[in-house]
C-alpha cells in the first residue's frame, strides 16, 4: 500500500484535475460526453424520478451481475458489486447504483471508458430494508438488475 496525502485545496491539486479533464476531453465522445455529473438524477427524491432522469425505463438484463448481501449487518455500509458480461451486454459506458428507499435514491454513477472492465465495487448507505438497483447504459439504452437487502437494527436496538 502506498499513501499520499493532500490537505484541503492545493493549487497543484486543481492543476492536476484540470489536466485530467483535458486528457479526458481527448477521448472518444461516446464515453466522455457523459462526464458531467447527472445532477437531476442525484437530486431526485423518488426512485422513478431518478430513473427517468437517467434515461428511458431500464429493461432487466441478465448480463448484469449485481451482488449485494441478503442481509446487511448495518445500513451505514452495504457493499455492492456491479459486473457486466461484455459479451452479453457490450458497449456499457455508464453504471449507476440506486437505493429505492433512500432520501435520494441515486447513490453513485460511474463513467466507464472502453478498455475498462465493467466492474465496480463500492459501499453505500441503505436507510432501510429495500430494493437496490444496478443500471447500465449501453448505446443509449438502459438495462438493470435489482436485489433486495435487509437492513437490521444493531445491538440493543438503540
Amino acid at each position: 500500500m502506498t499513501t499520499i496525502h493532500a490537505k484541503g485545496i492545493s493549487r497543484r491539486g486543481w492543476l492536476r484535475w484540470a489536466a485530467i479533464l483535458a486528457a479526458a476531453a481527448g477521448l472518444p465522445g461516446r464515453v466522455w460526453a457523459a462526464m458531467a455529473r447527472p445532477e437531476a438524477a442525484f437530486g431526485a427524491t423518488a426512485l422513478d424520478e431518478a430513473m427517468a432522469a437517467l434515461g428511458d425505463t431500464p429493461q432487466v438484463h441478465e448480463g448484469i451481475q449485481f451482488t449485494t448481501p441478503d442481509i446487511a449487518e448495518n445500513g451505514a455500509v452495504v457493499p455492492v458489486r456491479v459486473e457486466v458480461d461484455s459479451e452479453a451486454l457490450p458497449n456499457v459506458s455508464k453504471v449507476s447504483v440506486l437505493v429505492e428507499m433512500n432520501p435520494n435514491p441515486l447513490a453513485a454513477s460511474f463513467d466507464i471508458p472502453p478498455g475498462t472492465e465493467v466492474f465496480i465495487e463500492t459501499r453505500v448507505k441503505v436507510a432501510q430494508t429495500c430494493t437496490l438497483y444496478a443500471v447500465a447504459e449501453a448505446d443509449g439504452q438502459l438495462y438493470m438488475q435489482s436485489r433486495e437487502t435487509k437492513v437490521t437494527l444493531g445491538g440493543c436496538g438503540g
Binding site: T67, P69, I71, E73, P79, R81, E100, G154, C156
Partner: protein, 266 residues
C-alpha cells in the same frame, strides 16, 4: 416492490438453520463482500503522527513516554496492559497511561486532554483514539499477556470480576447479562462469552476496532462506556477504576490469545 412470500419463508428457514450452525453465520456473506479493507489503516497513520508531534507547553513529542517496556518502546507494549506503573503506583490502561504522558511529559492540561476522549456523533476521530489504534497495531500478532505479578494487578482482576457480575439499574443488567454464555446473540449480533478464554481473547484481541456503522475507530474504553449506556447505568469515565478493573478482567481471561486489533466490526 414486495418480494414473493416464498422467498421470505426461505430466508426465515435459512436464518434458523444458520442460527443452529453458528450464531453470527447470518452475516458471513456480508463480511465476505466487505473484504479485508479496514479504514483503520488511516487511523494507525494518524496515531503515529500524533506520537511524533511536539505538543503542549513543553513542545515535545510522546517519544519518551514509557508504556511499560521502557521510554519510547511501542512494539508489543499494548498486550501487557492493564499493568501497574511504579511512577504512579497505580494499575493503568493504555488510555490513562497516554493521558499521564500527555500531562507529565508534554505538560498539557489534564482537563483539556480528557475533555473528549471519544468521538461524538459527527466527529471523525480523536487523538486518544488514533494513538490507541496505532499502539494496538504496534502489538499486532503479539500474544496477549497482561501483567499480574503485582498485588494491585491481581486486586484489579478481582474487582473487575465483581463489577462484571454486578446487577444494577432499572433493567437489572450486568455485563454478565449478555456476556457470560456462549453462542448467544442480541438481535443479530453475536455476543462473546467474556468469562471464557475463547470469548475474551476474541474480543480483547480485536479492540480497538473500526466500527463501520459509525465510520470511526472505537477503543475498548468507549466499548465499555457504550455497554453501560445500554445497561441504563450512568456514564463510565475513561481511566476510572471500574473501567481499568473490567479491562483487567477481560485481558487476563484473554491471556495467551493473539492481538489482531485494530478489528473491523459492524
Amino acid at each position: 416492490m414486495k418480494k414473493p412470500n416464498l422467498e421470505v419463508a426461505l430466508l426465515a428457514a435459512w436464518l434458523c438453520a444458520a442460527t443452529l450452525a453458528a450464531d453470527d453465520g447470518v452475516f458471513d456473506q456480508y463480511r465476505d463482500l466487505m473484504g479485508d479493507e479496514n479504514p483503520a489503516v488511516f487511523v494507525i497513520d494518524e496515531g503515529e503522527e500524533f506520537w511524533l508531534t511536539a505538543q503542549g507547553p513543553n513542545a515535545v513529542t510522546l517519544e519518551s513516554c514509557d508504556l511499560g517496556l521502557g521510554p519510547g518502546v511501542t512494539a508489543g507494549a499494548y498486550v501487557r496492559f492493564p499493568r501497574h506503573f511504579a511512577d504512579t503506583n497505580a494499575v493503568m490502561d493504555l488510555e490513562s497511561r497516554l493521558v499521564y504522558c500527555m500531562t507529565t511529559i508534554q505538560g498539557r492540561d489534564l482537563e483539556s486532554v480528557t475533555a473528549k476522549p471519544y468521538s461524538l456523533r459527527g466527529d471523525f476521530g480523536t487523538e486518544i483514539e488514533a494513538l490507541v489504534t496505532w499502539l494496538a497495531a504496534e502489538s499486532e500478532g503479539a500474544t496477549i499477556a497482561p501483567e499480574q505479578a503485582h498485588a494491585t494487578e491481581r486486586a484489579m482482576y478481582a474487582l473487575g470480576k465483581d463489577i462484571f457480575f454486578y446487577r444494577a439499574g432499572p433493567h437489572d443488567f450486568s455485563c454478565a447479562t449478555c456476556h457470560e454464555q456462549s453462542d448467544k446473540r442480541i438481535r443479530l449480533q453475536a455476543l462473546p462469552d467474556l468469562t471464557s478464554h475463547t470469548g475474551a481473547a476474541g474480543s480483547w484481541g480485536s479492540w480497538p476496532a473500526y466500527r463501520i456503522s459509525q465510520g470511526l475507530v472505537r477503543t475498548m474504553g468507549w466499548r465499555l462506556r457504550d455497554c453501560f449506556r445500554q445497561q441504563r447505568w450512568p456514564e463510565l469515565q475513561m481511566g476510572s477504576e471500574a473501567s481499568i478493573a473490567l479491562q483487567t478482567y477481560m485481558a487476563v481471561n484473554a491471556a495467551g490469545g493473539t492481538m489482531t486489533a485494530p478489528g473491523l466490526k459492524r
